[in-house]
């Protein structure tokens, strides 16, 4: 319908639009009725939403609670730690993107359009300058990565694969100076998601490989773990890790007659354990699908070259298996990111809980819609970015796919 272009003479836009709507919207009386009904419905919904967002909505609740949404009770004199982390992450993201991918004019446009409201409505004071320096680091890193000569580029990439884990460890170190019961808002949400992803991925891969193992003990353990966790709702796993795990390992007790002074993990630590344990089971099943997709002949080719055991797995099987399941993995990680909102049952103040807490303030009672729309928007922006990043990753790794 759209492609009436190259061979035929170009028709006026109005004619094309008219023919298209005749063919698609008004082809029969029933279709015409449906079209009119849907236009009315969508128009009404759009009007209501627009009216709410631009006229009746009272956005002062968002403006007044920006700090709460972003950081929860994180001490403001320690916020510099987060800025340091953001600067490191921006520089690395820029370098990595430059070394692997490409930012086209469209992405630049979308990014700029997305940043504009952030600058206008969210930032003030130092945050404007610091956000700008982050962006400059990203741009500079991108330029450096993108223009690196082909001979250097592979080394660049190798350096990046080491830099990211280091940056992760550094970030956790920076954050750990502030007691984690004070972490909150988007900061807590992102921390839980990142730790959950970083920890559940290797654990899930190990479980998947264990499930394919020929040792009955290992295989049985992995199957039992995966099936047990998958059969239980996340909220139950969080409950278990929050209330039962501390009893099991936390209190002072004798183990085989030796008195052990209990180490009581914090709620944030327990939430991390719960989210990781839960996600790992799903990652394991996704990776298992990938392992099964690698043809037997690939294993034989590796064996014939003398590769065996772990080397065969790491060099031949896993790279092909993981590549095949990137979309499903990213989907699982997006789920994890959104599921972090369940940690409110451990009395943690993540982004969603912070948003709801804001509406409990006397000044802002009844403004739930505003904060929920705002929180939803943030979730969507992050989740959508993850989805686009995974598509970029697929394109980069797709070279030479059969």
């Amino acid at each position: 319908m759209m492609g009436v272009r190259p061979l035929l003479p170009r028709l006026p836009v109005a004619t094309v639009a008219w023919r298209w709507s005749r063919a698609n919207l008004f082809s029969s009386p029933a279709n015409t009725a449906l079209t009119i009904f849907m236009v009315g419905l969508l128009g009404f919904a759009g009007y209501q939403l627009g009216r709410f967002v631009f006229i009746s909505g009272q956005w002062d609740v968002v403006e007044a609670n920006r700090g709460l949404f972003m950081l929860g009770r994180f001490p403001r004199e320690e916020v510099w730690r987060i800025w340091v982390i953001l600067h490191v992450a921006s520089a690395l993201a820029g370098l990595s993107w430059g070394a692997w991918g490409r930012i086209g004019p469209r992405l630049t446009g979308v990014g700029a359009a997305g940043l504009l409201p952030v600058y206008v409505f969210l930032l003030e004071g130092d945050a404007i300058i610091l956000t700008t320096t982050c962006l400059m680091l990203f741009a500079g890193g991108y330029a450096a990565g993108h223009t690196s000569p082909p001979a250097i580029n592979p080394r660049f990439r190798t350096a990046m694969t080491f830099a990211w884990p280091l940056a992760f460890a550094f970030s956790m170190y920076m954050l750990s100076a502030v007691p984690d019961r004070l972490w909150g808002g988007l900061l807590l949400t992102m921390t839980l998601a990142v730790v959950g992803i970083v920890a559940s991925f290797p654990l899930g891969v190990a479980l998947a490989v264990g499930r394919a193992s020929t040792f009955p003990v290992i295989r049985t353990f992995c199957v039992a773990y995966i099936e047990l966790i998958r059969g239980v709702p996340l909220i139950t796993v969080l409950f278990m890790s929050g209330f039962i795990l501390p009893f099991a390992i936390g209190t002072d007790r004798d183990i085989l007659g030796i008195p052990v002074t209990g180490y009581l993990p914090s709620e944030v630590g327990l939430a991390m354990v719960g989210l990781t344990a839960f996600t790992a089971a799903y990652v394991a099943e996704i990776v298992r699908g990938g392992l099964q997709a690698v043809p037997r002949s690939q294993v034989e080719a590796g064996q014939a070259l003398g590769l065996g055991g772990v080397r065969l797995l790491i060099l031949i099987v896993l790279p092909q298996a993981l590549r095949a399941v990137i979309p499903a993995l990213v989907s699982q990680f997006i789920s994890l990111f959104k599921d972090t909102s369940l940690v409110f049952i451990l009395a943690l103040t993540d982004l969603l809980r912070a948003a709801r807490a804001a509406t409990a303030q006397p000044d802002f009672i009844g403004q739930q819609a505003e904060v929920l729309i705002f929180a939803g928007l943030i979730y969507w922006v992050v989740a959508f970015s993850m989805s686009r990043a995974s598509q970029q990753l697929e394109r980069n790794l797709g070279v030479g796919e059969r």
């Binding site: 002949s297 690939q298 034989e300 080719a301 590796g302 064996q303 014939a304 070259l305 003398g306 590769l307 065996g308 080397r311 060099l315 031949i316 790279p319 092909q320 590549r323 790794l397 070279v399 030479g400 796919e401 059969r402």
Partner: protein
Amino acid sequence: MIDGESPPTGDAGATSQREIIVCEDVTKWFGDFQALRGLTTIVREREVVVIIGPSGSGKSTFLRTLNRLEAHDGGRIVIDGVELNNDLRNVEKIRSEVGIVFQQFNLFPHLTVRRNMTLALTHVRHMKKADAEALALSLLERVGIPEQIDKYPAQLSGGQQQRVAIARALAMQPKIMLFDEPTSALDPEMIKEVLDVMKELARSGMTMLCVSHEMGFAREVADRIMFMDSGVVVEEGTPAEFFTAPKEDRTKLFLSQIL
């Protein structure tokens, strides 16, 4: 053509007396199906053996037992003095001496030609990266496609992929090369380029076992034709004997069907 007197000199078809593969009463079952029914044969160093036979006769299975991609159930296989059994060290030793080329090439699709060839050199042979790459390049030159070294397998034609697969196997400097129907998955115009590489390899004195339906190739380069049916060797002989005066009825029937 067994030349017992002269030591290996690199002449075409000069076979030494040294027995490099000895198979004795080898059997192999797949569930209820017996693929090999007591196969006995000897291959000498520098010999080129072409194995032919109807489909399901156990040709590929036999080839694959020689580097233990299939474990045989009964009988003995001794390769270059090392018995093939459940001892993993023996299996590794034999695999490093026996290269195999598959019908479907089986290149690693996620790696460039360069990495396909150097992977085992650096990880199994512990060769330095630069040395491994130099060896890879020289072997690609030998099979005639050095310019493809940075491509991915999917970017190559079938014939080019199979030549890379041969070069990859040769990179391990094997004493024996196995070919499991190396040209069966290729378009006709690509068969010649692969056969040319194999002929050159045969002339260089490599010990080769080749399951093939290419009778022209068999006639030209084989020292011996081995005809298999129903999991046993029915008849063996030089190409001249085999094609002009087959002894067994089953051989005559098979040849009448394919020639």
